[in-house]
Symmetry: C2
Subunit: 369 residues, 2 copies
C-alpha cells in the first residue's frame, strides 16, 4: 500500500477487500456541511471517529472547521501529531496512565479541551494538571436525552459549582450528544435541533448568572448537522459521519446513495449456486452491524439492487440479485456504518474519476485507549 | 505497548481498553484439544483467524499441531514470516495481485496448500504457478452443509477430473467447513462429526477409485473439536477459537467461563445514574455482535452476573447489575466472539497469575487481503 505502485492506476488494480474513498464526493460532503454551518452561524468541529485520518481532518480544517473532536485520547494524540491545533476530546478521561498522557498532550496542543461529567473524573484531572502547572478548558457533558454519560441538566449548575474549587480546570462550555437526532423525519430533526439549542442556551444562561463565563455550547450529529437554524443557541456542532456517509445515513435520508464517499471494494470468490455469490468481504471487512432501517450488511453500487444478505468473518453472501456476477468480478459495497467499518482498515484508497489519487493511512485506527 | 514498562506489572497497570490473554488458560486450552486430537488420531491444524498472532501459533505447533490454517493470503504471509513451515489457506484465492503473492509465498513456505472450489479459481492459479515453475497442494472445498463456498458433494469427482489437466496443482485432499457443528447439544455434535467423517471419507474413496491419491481430509470447528472418535474418517481438523474461547463457546457448552483465556479490560468512566455504569469499551473494543444464545455484548468476570446490555462505538452500558462499580474501577469482560473482538486490537497483553508476562503483537490483524 505504501510503495506508490497503485497511484494513478484504475480502481480495478486495487486488491480486495479495500476501503475506497471517492475524493470528489468527500470534498463535496465536507463543503456541504461547512456551508450549512456557515449559514447557521455555527462552528463545525468534526468528529474524527468516522475517518480517523489526518489527511481528512486537514481537508475539514481547510474548508473552515474550527478544530476537531476525538472520542479517545489516542485519537487526539494522532491528530496532535498531524498538527491539528484545536482538539476537543468529547469523552471522560479516567485513569493514571491517561492523565499522564493528557498532561503530555496539553503541552503540545495549542487549544485542547475535554469533557467532564463527574467529580470522580474532574478531581484527579485537576490534580494531574495542577502538578504539571497546566490549565485545561473543560466542557461539562450534559445528558440531553442520550442516557449515556452526562450530568442531568437540572444538576448542571450545582456540578459547575462543585468544580469551581478545582485548580487547573477552566469551565468554558457545555457539550451534549444528540442521540435523539437519529430519526428519519427532517421536521423531527429540525425540532430536535431547536430544542437542543434552546435548552443548552438556557442552561448556559443559568451558569452565566451563577458567574461562569460559558462561551462554548457543543452539540450536533450527522443527521442533525444540516438542520440548525441561525441563532439556534449552540456555538458548535460535532458531526462526524457526514464526510463519508454510509447506508444508515441513506436510510435516515441524510444523504443519497450518490453522496456516499466510502465503499468497500470486494471480489466475488465463489459462485457455488445460481442464487449465491460469495464475496471476500465479511465481518472483518464490512463490519457486522445490520442496517439501521434496511436489513442487510452492505449494499452494492452495481448491481444496484443487490445487498449482502448474510455474513461470516471472511465471506459475504449475495442472493439471486447478485446472479449476474462472476468469479473475479469486483464490486463496491456501501457499508451500513462507516465508523465501525473503517475501523477495520489501516489504509484508505482515495480515488478520483476511477483512478487511485492517493493512499492515506488511517492513523488513528486502533487508538482506542 | 512495546517499551517493556508493563512487564511484570499487575494487570491494573494496563491502560484500557486492552485485550488480555491469560497465559495459563491459553496453554491449557491448547493442550486440551491437542490431547483430544491425539486420542482420536487426528492432526490438529489450528485456524489462526481467532488469534492472528505468531507467538500463539508457535505454542500450538510446540504442543503438536501439524501446521496452521489461514483464512487469507495476508494471514498466511504473516505466519510464513514467523517461520511456520506448513500453512493451509482454507479459502478461495482470486485475482492477479493475489496470484502473484501466492507464487511468492509458495517459494518460501515448505508446505503450502490452498482450497479451490471452481475452475474459475483453479485455472488462473494453475497458469500463475506453471509460469513460475511451481506446483502447489490443493484441497477441493466441498459444501458439506455450510451453503457457503464449496463444490456440492455429488459433483466432487467430476470437478476433480476437470482439475486434472491443470498443471501446477496437485490434488491431495478435501476440506469442508463444519458450520452445522455450532449446536449446543454434545450428542448432536458427536453425530455431526461421525457424519462429516463418514461422508468425506466416502467421497475420498470415490476419488481414489477414480485415480486421485487423496491423503488429507480436513474438517472440524471449535464446537466439533473434542467430539471426534478414533477412525472418524478425517485426517485433520481446523479448530480456531478453542485456544482463547469466548462467550458464544460458553453458551454452546464447549467451554466453561473459567476456560475463557481472552477478556477485554475496561474502565468505568461514568456513573450517571444508579442503574447505569458506562465503560470505555464499545463496539470498537468489544465488537458489536450480540451473544449467540444469551443476549448481551460482553460478560463481566466480576460482578459475575453483570453484562454489557447496550453498546456505542466507544461506550459500553451496564445496568443495575454493575451498581457496585465506581468511576475508575477496571473490569474484565468476556466478549461474545473472540475472532471479531481480537481483530480490533494491535496487541494482546499476556498475563500470568495477575501480572503482565508478555505483550504480543497481533501481527495478522488487518491482513484481510
Amino acid at each position: 500500500m505504501m510503495d506508490g505502485s497503485l497511484l494513478n492506476q484504475p480502481l480495478a488494480a486495487v486488491d480486495t477487500p479495500a476501503l475506497v474513498v471517492d475524493y470528489d464526493l468527500l470534498m463535496a460532503n465536507i463543503q456541504r456541511l461547512q456551508t450549512a454551518c456557515d449559514a447557521a452561524g455555527l462552528q463545525l468541529r468534526p468528529h474524527i471517529k468516522a475517518h480517523k485520518t489526518p489527511e481528512v481532518a486537514h481537508l475539514q480544517l481547510q474548508a473552515g472547521a474550527v478544530g476537531v473532536t476525538a472520542a479517545k485520547l489516542g485519537e487526539a494524540e494522532v491528530m496532535a501529531t498531524a498538527g491539528v491545533p484545536d482538539i476537543f476530546i468529547a469523552n471522560q478521561i479516567v485513569g493514571e496512565t491517561k492523565l499522564r498522557r493528557l498532561v503530555a498532550l496539553a503541552r503540545r496542543v495549542p487549544k485542547l479541551s475535554v469533557a467532564v461529567d463527574s467529580l470522580e473524573v474532574a478531581a484527579p484531572m485537576s490534580e494531574a494538571l495542577t502538578a504539571a502547572g497546566q490549565t485545561l478548558d473543560i466542557l461539562i457533558e450534559v445528558d440531553h436525552g442520550a442516557a449515556r454519560c452526562g450530568v442531568p441538566p437540572e444538576e448542571t449548575v450545582a456540578f459547575a459549582q462543585a468544580l469551581a474549587p478545582l485548580q487547573g480546570l477552566r469551565l468554558v462550555g457545555l457539550m451534549a450528544y444528540a442521540a435523539r437526532s437519529y430519526v428519519g423525519d427532517w421536521e423531527q430533526r429540525r425540532a430536535f435541533c431547536r430544542q437542543e439549542g434552546a435548552e443548552l442556551a438556557a442552561l448556559a444562561g443559568e451558569l452565566r448568572a451563577a458567574g461562569f463565563p460559558i462561551t462554548r455550547l457543543s452539540g450536533g450529529s450527522t443527521p442533525a448537522g444540516p438542520c440548525y437554524e441561525p441563532n439556534c443557541g449552540l456555538t458548535e456542532i460535532r458531526s462526524g459521519t457526514y464526510c463519508l456517509n454510509d447506508h444508515n445515513q441513506v436510510d435516515l435520508g441524510t444523504c443519497t446513495r450518490a453522496e456516499v464517499a466510502a465503499t468497500v471494494l470486494a471480489t466475488v470468490i465463489s459462485r457455488p449456486a445460481p442464487d449465491r455469490a460469495i464475496l471476500d468481504a465479511g465481518t472483518k471487512a464490512l463490519d457486522q452491524q445490520v442496517g439501521k432501517l434496511t436489513a442487510g450488511y452492505g449494499w452494492l453500487l452495481d448491481p444496484p439492487d443487490a445487498n449482502v444478505v448474510k455474513i461470516n468473518d471472511e465471506h459475504g453472501y449475495l442472493d439471486e440479485r447478485g446472479a449476474s456476477l462472476r468469479v473475479g468480478d469486483k464490486v463496491r459495497i456501501i457499508p451500513p456504518r462507516i465508523c465501525t467499518c473503517l475501523n477495520l482498515y489501516d489504509w484508505m484508497v482515495v480515488v478520483q474519476e476511477g483512478r487511485v489519487r492517493d493512499i492515506w493511512r488511517i492513523a488513528a485506527r486502533g487508538r482506542n485507549t
